[in-house]
């Protein structure tokens, strides 16, 4: 068994260094690779020093929103006497995203170490790792690693002999994309339906079980041990472009490239190099048509936008989209973009928790109208209707799932209008889609 591809010279392996090495999964193998040095170091540091180091590193949340991690940790109250919780978001369900899965199944102890340091950074004794129910193999690997860490006393009532308690528990989800939203995830752990909560109050004030809570993505937490041992300056120095985007980023690339897979790049690597060098470019005889760079929830990019784009938070924003989760969907010229946008709308309609009218109705109607266009029964007014629905789904709901449905629709109509017109004018034969 090996990792799908050898490390490419243009990659910067930090988190992915040991992907594909079976021995790295065990505690012994992990310690042999420098594991748990960072935790021991962090146990000697003050909470403030840990938070300052993470702040100085420039690490931003890798779950999608890109919020500065150190700042988030700094929001947690001091001396409030209440239990604090850390939630690790391993729900990874955003179409195109499969990077956290690689961290968990190849280097589970890296995540455990990151969670343990995260607990120290927010004055928590307990971390719940919420992992999506479909990740059966990764959950098993993670549970085994957690048990090993407890048995060795690395975590538990006296973590590494420090006298400090650090508990880490794995909690399995049961199928529901929305549970990746931070407050829905907390509800799921509490034994409730996974409905997002109205904010404020924010989790740092009232989160899991009503207590101050911080939630971080798997990749965010897995980066923390490296920042502790190698220093914030080293991490902040990893950037090819914007000083606001630091470190490395795992980009999971899927779709019509020669070598789909997870790649670790320094922030700012040209997207063109990522797609054409690392991933080997398009399939034989095909050309690039479109890229959705940050999981399906972000605007679609054209080849022209890809050409000049630096792969980081600011670079992709300047090129008309968002880095999001780093789940990159690459489409070649064989792709029926209208069909794929319909398929994504159907995804959001299926996953809407249905609390907000604009989301419940908007995602369902968007899907129906796109299906109608694909059946050859669309009218040109349908595009205005779609844009109107999208407008009503943007910035008007409890969480941003509705906005996520709108993003590919708006960008698709704006940037790939001829694809829609072909169905509307009858230039393209209708395709049958089940209603």
């Amino acid at each position: 068994m090996g990792y799908p591809h050898p490390i490419h010279p243009k990659e910067t392996p930090v988190l992915s260094t040991h992907f594909g090495e079976m021995e790295a999964r065990s505690l012994e193998g992990w310690v042999a690779r420098g594991g748990y040095v960072a935790l021991r170091q962090a146990l000697e540091m003050t909470t403030e020093a840990i938070v300052d180091e993470v702040k100085a590193s420039g690490l931003r949340g890798r779950g999608g929103a890109g919020f500065p991690c150190g700042m988030k940790w700094g929001f947690m109250p001091k001396d409030d006497g209440r239990p604090h919780y850390l939630c690790c978001n391993a729900d990874e369900s955003e179409p195109g995203t499969f990077k956290d899965r690689e961290i968990i199944r190849w280097t589970p102890h890296a995540l455990i170490e990151g969670c343990a340091i995260g607990c120290l950074g927010i004055r928590a004794e307990t971390c719940f790792i919420f992992i999506r129910g479909e990740y059966t193999e990764p959950a098993e690997i993670l549970e085994r690693a957690v048990a090993e860490a407890y048995a060795a006393g690395v975590i538990g009532p006296d973590a590494c002999g420090s006298g400090k308690r650090i508990d880490i528990f794995v909690h399995r989800g049961a199928g529901a994309y929305i549970c990746g939203e931070e407050t829905a995830l907390m509800n799921a752990i509490e034994g409730k339906r996974g409905n997002p909560r109205i904010k404020p109050p924010f989790p740092a004030v009232s989160g899991l079980f009503g207590m101050p809570t911080t939630i971080n993505n798997v990749e965010t937490l897995a980066a923390v041990p490296h920042i502790i041992t190698r220093g914030a300056a080293w991490y902040a120095g990893l950037s090819l472009s914007s000083p606001k985007s630091t470190g490395t980023k795992l980009i999971s690339v899927c779709g019509h490239v020669q070598r789909p897979g997870t790649y670790e790049i320094t922030m700012g690597l040209p997207m063109q190099e990522l797609i054409f060098d690392l991933c080997g470019g398009m399939r034989e005889g095909r050309t690039l048509k479109a890229v959705i760079p940050g999981g399906s929830s972000v605007p679609i990019m054209t080849p022209e936008e890809v050409a000049g784009c630096a792969t980081d938070y600011e670079g992709i924003a300047a090129s008309g989209s968002l880095l999001g989760s780093g789940g990159m969907i690459v489409m070649d010229d064989s792709t029926d973009l209208v069909y794929q946008i319909m398929r994504l709308a159907r995804f959001y309609a299926h996953e809407s928790c249905a609390q907000c009218t604009n989301c419940r109705e908007g995602t369902a109607w968007t899907t129906r109208i796109l299906e109608r266009i694909l059946r050859g029964e669309g009218k040109s007014a349908d595009l205005d209707l779609l844009l109107d629905l999208a407008d009503n789904m943007t910035g008007r709901t409890i969480c941003v799932l509705a906005d996520s449905c709108a993003a590919p629709v708006i960008s698709g109509i704006q940037k790939f209008r001829p694809d829609f017109d072909a169905y509307l004018t009858g230039a393209r034969a209708p395709v049958m889609v089940e209603a």
Binding site: R172, G173, G175, F209, S252, G255, M331, Q340
Partner: protein, 165 residues
């Protein structure tokens, strides 16, 4: 019809009850045991029966209606019996673009299920489409029970199914 159709034993046998109580120490409320308890029920019976719902409600000091309300939110819990081998196929865009529909067709054909969601006449299989399984580079990923299988193609379906008698 299927092995699991009638729950023959309670969910919380001595062993499972002990596991539940061990988990209880992790959470400040009993309600938080709901998702783990539902998983235990499904592992025991293959689905979550009305009897199991009653039992879970009693154990966790909740009402059956509340338990039902929560369990129906989550797509992985079965509220009715399914085939002995439950197959979930991803058909979201990245997989759809790379041939997932053909894999669905091959699965429906070879299992004898005919339709999505239907159980094959021999009670052996149920096939459903699901949204992104988080393995989009390995088209087409499918789950057979708890086994996660990557890169399934129409050609490999027959051999694969033979491993699930």
């Amino acid at each position: 019809m299927t092995e699991h159709a009638t729950p023959t034993e309670p969910v919380f046998t001595t062993e499972r009850k002990a596991r539940l109580e061990a988990l209880a120490t992790r959470y400040p409320t009993r309600q938080a045991l709901l998702l783990p308890a539902l998983w235990m029920a499904q592992q025991a019976h293959g689905w979550i029966s009305p009897e199991a719902i009653e039992e879970i409600a009693t154990e966790l000091e909740l009402t059956p209606a509340y338990v039902r309300g929560v369990l129906t939110f989550y797509t992985m819990y079965h509220t009715h019996p399914v085939g002995r081998h439950f197959i979930q196929v991803c058909t979201t865009s990245p997989c759809n673009m790379c041939g997932a529909e053909d894999v669905v067709a091959a699965l429906l054909d070879h299992t004898g299920c005919g339709d999505l969601g239907a159980t094959s006449p021999d009670g052996r299989f149920t096939v459903i489409e699901v949204e992104c399984l988080g393995a989009c580079a390995f088209v087409t990923p499918i789950l057979i029970n708890d086994d996660f299988i990557e890169s399934v193609t129409p050609d490999t379906v027959a051999d694969l199914l033979a491993r699930y008698p």
